[in-house]
Symmetry: C3
Subunit: 116 residues, 3 copies
């Protein structure tokens, strides 16, 4: 059975669902003039929309990879993150610094999530 | 049941298959004198060979992580990428800059893929 | 069914288990004064403890992402790694350089592993 693909662009699918697991593309903020807290908040709102679209939710997150343009923004990202995650059901996570696709992208997050 | 391991080296397996999902190692080009377009094309040809070996194909790709030595090579990588992927079935993807294992490695790609 | 979450912090779960696959957070050494060989050895001992806790072992590793603070430490990391992995059942792997969460973290490793 073919994986289900959501929000396809020329290069990628924002979400790929296979066997009740969703693989998300690295998400970035639409408003790249925001600081890291603002960008993280926008990314997590995007994630919510995708989770709803596939019939899942924050409590089903399996793992997250977080890239920060400047690791000095670690605390700011974490503030938005801690406000958002399901406190009883946080995903596995790794956070590293990386130069991202555009100079004003300060944070990018990639999720893997289970579907109930 | 033990995962199936293909092309083992002292350090890693190029491909690990478990429950009809294949986890590939980060692939790099054999000819590291090539530019980013050339290296990407070599990597994707390697991926094809592994996909064939495990009875899968480009339409079953779930996700890709792409590391570029210089994020300025984003467009070049994308040209080779767009020529290669199944336009109707693109994987989820994240692309970031990173210094890679050898100075002349300009791009490295890691795939996760389903097996029909 | 909800994923099982082990060693939860405010931000993440060190291990998330779902459908007999475990997703680990990026692991770092407790003693960050150690060199890369020492930090890698500590990380791999931590991984052993988690593998045992979930009823798995080194022969079931699917994939590993390794971030090095300095890619020049590649050989040191590999020495500890080769001593540790199951030589007949090595995981898929990708290794890249990245600035990590604290200045003295020289290596971070994230695993995905199957449970027998």
């Amino acid at each position: 059975m073919k994986p289900q693909r959501i929000d396809k662009t020329e290069r990628l699918s924002r979400v790929v669902v296979h066997n009740k697991i969703a693989y998300l593309s690295g998400l970035t903020a639409d408003d790249k003039s925001l600081d890291t807290v603002g960008q993280t908040t926008q990314i997590l709102a995007k994630a919510d929309a995708y989770l709803e679209k596939i019939g899942s939710n924050r409590s089903m997150l399996l793992s997250a990879t977080i890239w920060l343009r400047d690791i000095g923004d670690f605390d700011g990202m974490n503030r938005a993150w801690v406000d958002w995650i399901d406190k009883d059901e946080p995903p596995a996570r790794a956070t590293v610094e990386a130069v991202l696709g555009l100079p004003d992208i300060r944070v990018e997050i990639q999720f893997t999530v289970a579907i109930p």
